[in-house]
Amino acid sequence: MALLQISEPGMSAAPHKHNLAVGIDLGTTNSLVATVRSGMSTVLQDEHGHALLPSVVRYLENNGVEVGHDAQAQQSTDPTNTIVSVKRFMGRGLKDIANRAHIPYRFVENTNKESNGMLQIETRVGNKSPVEISAEILKTLRTRAEKALGGELTGAVITVPAYFDEAQRQATKDAARLAGIHVLRLLNEPTAAAVAYGLDNASEGVYVIYDLGGGTFDISVLRLSKGVFEVLATNGDSALGGDDFDHRIFCWILDQIRLKVPNFSPLSEEDTRLLLTKSRQAKEWLTDNYESQITCKLSNGYFVDITLNVSQFNEFTQNLVSKTLNPTRKAIRDAGLSLDEINGVVLVGGATRMPHIRHAVADFFKQEPLTNLDPDKVVALGAAIQANVLAGNRSDKDLLLLDVTPLSLGLETMGGLVEKIIPRNATLPVARAQEFTTFKDGQTAMSFHVLQGERELVSDCRSLAKFELRGIPPMAAGAARIRVTFQIDADGLLSVSAKEQTSGLESHVVVKPSYGLSDEEIGNMLKSSFLAAENDKQARAVREAQVEAARLLESITFAMDQDADKILSPDEKEAIYSQMEALKEIMKSDDSQAINRATEKLNKSTESFAARRMDASVTKALAGQNLDSLEI
């Protein structure tokens, strides 16, 4: 039986209130939502008892949308309006998509300049971006969770592949925003799995998470120590997963057909989807069986009847398996470890059910991988645990996740080369600065090109953004000092700023990746999805301002109760209290701008109080140690 939790006095801001927080695994093939109830992480089911929601979205004739099993059932009859594996297209442009000819969608280049690049899919209700399609999946999970928990969600932790780049992460966050979900944190999938696994097994030591999902592969090396999960290195391939094994079977079937019928006509979209579905079923069947019978009737009347056996399957997918081992080697090398220092290997993701994957992993690590948690659910379960901590429901400070950035970030320099500013595997959050100078006498502007990737040439890395710093005072070449700062927050998202040092001229630029959506686009999507009337929008703005104000008041009240007497002078205390009162008064109005202004003002005036509290807590954190460690 699960034990009931009692929080330590004074530890939680609002111990009486249980915030409804969930973890969402937005997967390529299936998506799940989980929450912590009575101290146990549990996956929430739909009304038919299904835990897994197939990540399939179908746009209907009547403007309606179907998500999940119903949509999946129609994928072969309505392939162009039924989108599966949309995650593979998140933050991606047309040129990024391999095997495009074998994907039964009508892809459209996005014409909007601001988000230049992210592809769209033509459906019967118009062009849809992967962000909008993913938002439908998230909305369905949100509804499921709110029904099950009986209230509005405070927020969610949404998982992403560790090897997702900036554009893919931003797209995921945008999808949550469209679905009306407050994102507490984007969490890397292997780290989420480690949390669920590590806490369940009370493990300590170095663990490797091998996560092969429907469309992505991640490998993470973590050190677990007293509730701290420290990612040492991560690597992967964000375009490699179970889908690719299906695709190999699909190609093999086509080859077999063409052996018999040399000039077999090209497949229709329906037939492509049908054969891909048959391929997936054959792959799953081969997990426990020696051979699989593939039978179906194509639209031209041709009857497919072929047998695929395990050794054939293993042979033509062997190089996919080896493709996972290179990133694995790199991650272990980056972590500075040898194989005998690894305490365990955990398998995550449905694709790790394939026996030849298990054998390859066991051979590589020279130990049997751990599979005692359901590889489909472990990510959602871990995300729920982290959501529970972040929402403030868990009062002890045991659990802490220290994650890394998967890819190096840098700037273009002369000659089309990339100067790395933040190396891969830097622990988050991270801030790094580097100085650059002018190339010509009297140069007054400088343009920056932000890139992500490991290669040395600009053309081999992913372009994230370009921005300019103007108004540099004219000086001799090489005299100006332009300091460029890169920051990556705990969600793994980047912002960049530039400052001319000698003149103090500053230019802050928050980088929006070129494959992201502009605020305007999101605004339009929100409008069209909710069809919000003007006064609805106002009411929403007031509500948001009030929630934000209440949140701030709650956290400051808590901080004041704890430390005001110790840290603040009576005058300072009085000043903060009176502003709190002012905000409480203004909150009652329906003037969202006035509320936001008062919130901002209170925020500003508590800055130094917050700073002094942090200083005080360093001393507290390191207190109680032997004096000999402090000798100088």
């Binding site: 120590s225 622990t427 988050l428 959050p429 705990a490 500003k604 917050a610 954190a621 390191l622 460690s629």
Partner: protein, 176 residues
């Protein structure tokens, strides 16, 4: 914040010296992050969130610097007012230059032959070389005995670190 101006050793409650208690560094790193990581301020005010980002990023930077011996030595020398001048002072003793050339040749040969075993040997050699320099560094830096010599060893170590990462890159290139 006062804590952002502390030197990295003080930040982790360690004596300001080259030889450190690595376990204590790890422990105190985790303690500090448990206190300041942005995850602890998800429901905090905007100023708390901003400051927690600053502190957590600073702690990460400090930890990385102290954890890595070459960086730690460089940082300590900087605290003592000695700039290691790795960018400008490229003059190296003749015997080190000879060694350097031998290494480069061996790496080039192993690279062309795709000889992974030899590259692994060279990695080991770099490890041993680096260990050697580190023990000299420890002597030089104890009680600030010889900061000039220490600074020259740091320059050599940077070079060894660079060669090590070059070999790793080559290995990755061959394995791909």
């Amino acid at each position: 914040m006062e804590l952002l101006s502390r030197n990295y050793f003080e930040l982790f409650g360690l004596p300001t010296q080259f030889r450190i208690d690595s376990d204590r560094l790890d422990q105190n790193y985790r303690k500090l992050q448990s206190e300041f990581h942005p995850d602890r301020f998800v429901s905090g005010s905007a100023s708390e969130q901003k400051q927690s980002f600053q502190v957590a990023a600073h702690v990460n930077d400090a930890y990385r610097t102290l954890k890595h011996p070459t960086q730690r030595a460089r940082y300590l020398l900087k605290l003592r007012g000695v700039d290691t001048l790795e960018e400008s002072n490229t003059a190296m003793p003749a015997d080190f230059l000879m060694k350097q050339m031998e290494w480069r040749e061996a790496i080039e040969e192993a690279k062309n032959d795709h000889n992974l075993a030899e590259l692994d040997n060279l990695l080991q050699l770099m490890k041993v070389t680096s260990k050697d320099y580190l023990s000299k560094l420890e002597t030089d830096l104890a009680d600030d005995k010889d900061l000039v010599s220490a600074s020259s060893i740091v320059r050599k170590l940077s070079f060894v670190d660079k060669v090590t990462s070059d070999i790793e890159q080559i290995i990755i290139g061959i394995e791909d």
